[in-house]
């Protein structure tokens, strides 16, 4: 009995280790390839460890095209979207969770239903709309919609607000506080963790967004990192070592943010499924 348990434990661990290897190997291969010179990288069978480590790849990748500009552009979009997401989702979720107004249920269900709508359906008319407004090739189409709330964020935050005891609002009402005071003095201070979750998701979404910039930006100096990386690939497709270095640079900020906010990420993801 004891022995068979031991064996089954070993099997479980082995499966998990294989899974973990599948997750890590591509990332390892990325970093490994990013530090090889153009001869080593073409060697067959491939070497696992670069020798020598060629960090010069990073310098070359970053100077071949204007990565710092793309970095700055991405940062501008990301930060503007971050504030937009926090603003719109926090007030929206508060209203849907706590306040009473005619049509609240209707709009909330419409909001939920909109999550199922494929982006391609709205993309074309929205694009035409921005074109009429003469805002193509600006960041407005990428940033402004976020300030009007995302269904996912509002839903997530509303789930959290519903767990804050209503007695607190009621006590404040009795003391003469209005909804704004309750929102800013009670709800917001209590909801730091979910707001961090939404901030992190928002960061990831805009940093990783590809289709938006692809459709709306057409001048190289306005490009984001994601677009820049694609441009790099189309220009230097055979230079795998440089492409891998450039990809590593694009991934790095996301990895850093992930490790800083890891706990919130995991909790946030888990939360989406539970009341789904």
């Amino acid at each position: 009995m004891k022995k068979s348990r031991r064996i089954s434990q070993i099997i479980v661990y082995s499966v998990l280790v294989v899974g973990a290897a599948f997750c890590l190997l591509p990332l390892f291969w990325l970093v490994r390839s990013s530090m090889m010179n153009s001869l080593q990288i073409f060697e067959m069978p491939p070497k696992w460890i670069p020798s020598p480590f060629r960090l010069q790849n990073y310098v070359e990748a970053l100077t071949t095209i204007d990565f710092f500009r793309f970095f700055r552009n991405t940062l501008i979009i990301t930060v503007s979207c971050l504030f937009g997401a926090l603003f719109s989702s926090s007030i929206g979720a508060y209203s849907y969770a706590r306040l009473d107004w005619p049509g609240r249920k209707l709009f909330f269900s419409l909001l939920l239903a909109s999550m199922m709508l494929p982006g391609a359906v709205t993309l074309i008319p929205t694009f035409i709309g921005w074109r009429f407004a003469d805002l193509i090739n600006t960041y407005v189409p990428l940033i402004l919609p976020v300030w009007f709330g995302s269904a996912f964020d509002i839903f997530l935050l509303r789930q959290f607000y519903s767990t804050i005891p209503k007695d607190m609002d009621e006590a404040a009402y009795v003391d003469g506080a209005g909804p704004w005071t309750i929102f800013s003095r009670i709800i917001i201070p209590l909801s730091t963790p979910p707001l961090i979750v939404i901030g992190l998701f928002s960061f990831m979404n805009s940093w990783n967004d590809f289709m938006g910039p692809l459709v709306y930006l057409n001048e190289e100096r306005k490009f984001t990192l994601a677009l820049g990386l694609q441009m790099f690939q189309s220009l230097h497709s055979a230079q795998w070592h440089l492409l891998m270095a450039a990809s590593t640079v694009v991934i790095m900020p996301v990895i850093v943010v992930f490790f800083i906010g890891q706990r919130y990420f995991i909790e946030g993801i888990a939360l989406t499924g539970i009341k789904g």
Binding site: V121, F210, I266, G273
Partner: protein
């Protein structure tokens, strides 16, 4: 009234960026509109052109996309469920380390992961083929053959299953211990516990992941654009890429709107079918 004020941004957002564009795109789908001319009403022509095969890519991209969804959704569910289930076993140490590792790939920007996998899949120089060679197995053309391109992209997508795993894991942790304890008292073994407690208790979460996974899989895009441009010979012309190409490369906004609406209706139908069948297999505790 303060309520409306607080919800105003989201209401306006819903109207401006969801409802109006939806109506507009439905209207556009009945027009001939090539971004430069004024839209001209042409009835169902955009739709009939698709269904009667005048546009040869429509059925092709539907087939390619279905193939992807049918492979990717069940495989994704099974793999992430197994991963979450094993991680949730009592004796596992380093649970949070494994969890982090499993989640890590899903934060990698799609453009960057496309570059990584393009490199791994490279027929002459890629890691995968050198593995196959080392094992004396025949090498594959991966993204460069009509037969293997979709399965290759499925394999790549399994790499980014992190959030599904986390959602399953959270669900498994929420299954009340008392149920298992009662089952042990009744003499149930591991398999019966799994079959009669874990699976039924997890059906709502399996259902959630099934719906979200299918909706996401129908909209695969970036991988196709960066890695294959729909090739070889349109074998990876995924539906969303087809829409993108029609709208933003050929400027056929009316036609593209019709194509997009068909996707919307397909997703709607699939969701409705899932919800209908869910009554017979999804178990909600509150109904007991």
């Amino acid at each position: 009234m303060a309520g409306i004020l607080f919800a105003l941004p989201s209401i306006l957002g819903l109207i401006m960026f969801v409802m109006l564009p939806m109506i507009a795109s439905l209207l556009l789908s009945f027009t001939d509109y090539r971004i430069v001319n004024t839209p001209k009403f042409i009835g169902f022509t955009n739709y009939t052109r698709l269904f009667d095969g005048t546009d040869p890519y429509f059925y092709n991209s539907l087939w390619v996309t279905f193939k992807y969804v049918i492979l990717r959704v069940p495989l994704g569910l099974v793999f992430s469920f197994i991963a979450a289930f094993l991680l949730n076993m009592g004796f596992i140490r380093g649970k949070s380390v494994f969890r982090t590792i499993f989640y890590l790939p899903s934060i990698v920007p799609a453009v960057a992961s496309s570059m990584i996998w393009l490199w791994l899949f490279s027929p002459d120089l890629g890691l995968f083929n050198s593995f196959l060679e080392a094992l004396n197995l025949p090498t594959l053309d991966w993204l460069y053959s009509e037969q293997t391109v979709v399965p290759s992209i499925v394999l790549m997508s399994l790499w980014g299953m992190g959030s599904t795993i986390i959602i399953f894991l959270a669900g498994l942790q929420g299954v009340p211990r008392s149920l298992y304890e009662a089952a042990i008292v009744d003499g149930a073994g591991a398999i019966r516990k799994f079959r009669h407690i874990t699976i039924p208790m997890m059906t709502p979460i399996i259902f959630f992941n099934l719906i979200m996974g299918s909706i996401g899989a129908f909209q695969v895009f970036t991988e196709a654009l960066i890695m294959t441009q729909g090739g070889p010979n349109n074998a990876s012309l995924f539906y969303n890429y087809y829409i993108y190409r029609q709208a933003f490369q050929f400027g056929e906004m009316g036609q593209a709107s019709a194509i997009a609406w068909i996707l919307f209706i397909i997703i709607l139908l699939v969701t409705v079918v899932f919800f209908r069948t869910s009554k017979s297999w999804v178990f909600y505790e509150s109904e007991v």
